[in-house]
Symmetry: C2
Subunit: 197 residues, 2 copies
DNA sequence: CAACTCCTTGATTGAGCGTTCAACCAAGAA
DNA sequence: TTCTTGGTTGAACGCTCAATCAAGGAGTTG
């Protein structure tokens, strides 16, 4: 494994656990057993490590996130809730300290470099595009006039907001309630599609 | 104005603009025109400044946030969307760099002191309690079995998620779509209440 | 062998951080 | 006048941070 790969892997974990600003270069070095010179040979600056991390998330969303979450699910709408269940297990496994790595960065970095901001946006974009595909696959189960992109972004909204509150209150029930509300919304939409058909 | 008040006011603005970690004591001193000794006479540590800020938000939510947003609104459900409109103007006024001060802190602080975490939770709690009151005032316009606390938390979820995405994409439309989805959800709920009655 | 290219080593740099404290000041009490 | 109290001053401290760089392999090529 190259030094570059080692650093990105370590940084993915440390940025997620401690945040970007609170992760020092020294943290990355001790985790990877590298020396500072090697790190600065692979990356010009700490911010470029962040860019590497965001690119890794962007390029790995299907393999690392969606494929595991959708292993046993075919129904397009159930895929959405399977993904949310996946986040739920992460919340539980981390004793409600889980934070979406992208969402946390989005709020932690107050004056981000344009490249960083665009990569965060690209990550959100990939996520909602995957949901939007599910909504497209749901076909006529949703009302014809449904804005599927907006609804996909709303799913992300519910996930991020639910994660934030579960983490703050240290209780997964806050996430569960957000999912339940979203479930109710989908139930109403499916009902409206049936009646309207 | 006491030194303590000066510091809290300056910190509210700076933590909101730059985040907690990126705001240095020196920043606070130059903004308030105080010396470090005065600050440390008023607060034992930087974290206690943060606590002061969170207490100020907690105690000022009605006067500073809700009263202005609800100045011309009586209808309980419209009050919810009036509050969201208030956030929208903040987003627009800041060229889509607005972040909810509480939400940003919630995600920036990865290992918060229990007292800090509880204050963030209390702030969310006050916010959702105000929404819950609106939902209670809406009475039978919502289906009888509606879990009004969960729905209030869902409104917070939509706000935080919408703000996060608008900020990331630098476009208020992402916030607007989140609000529109929430509006659609309320419309469906009101319709269900009417039919079921 | 030498020359060249990658990559690594790790002590070092200088800036910035939160925090401290002896000295100082103004105003009221004795 | 002298003492006390509550607050202010600002230089200094110890530390951590991201980043640097001269020196030194290791491998390949001619």
């Amino acid at each position: 494994m190259s030094a570059r790969e080692k650093i990105v892997l370590a940084a993915m974990e440390l940025f997620w656990l401690k945040g970007y600003n609170s992760t020092s270069i020294a943290d990355l070095l001790s985790r990877t057993q590298l020396n500072s010179g090697s790190l600065y040979h692979a990356f010009p600056s700490k911010q470029d490590v962040l860019i590497g991390v965001l690119e890794a998330y962007r390029d790995g969303i299907h393999q690392q996130l969606l494929a595991p979450a959708w292993a046993d699910v075919d129904d397009p709408i159930e895929k959405i809730f399977a993904l949310l269940r996946h986040y739920r297990t992460l919340i539980v496994e981390t004793d409600c300290t889980y934070g979406c790595p992208i969402g946390s960065l989005a709020l932690e970095l107050h004056e981000p470099d344009p490249k960083v901001r665009e990569l965060i946006a690209a990550n959100f974009g990939n996520w909602t595009a995957a949901i939007e595909q599910c909504l497209a696959d749901a076909g006529k189960r949703l009302p014809g006039e449904t804005d599927r992109r907006a609804l996909a972004q709303f799913v992300l909204t519910a996930m991020e907001g639910g994660v934030m509150q579960a983490r703050t209150h240290r209780h997964v029930a806050y996430f569960d309630r957000a999912v339940a509300q979203l479930r109710a919304h989908f139930a109403l939409l499916e009902q409206a599609a049936k009646v309207g058909a």
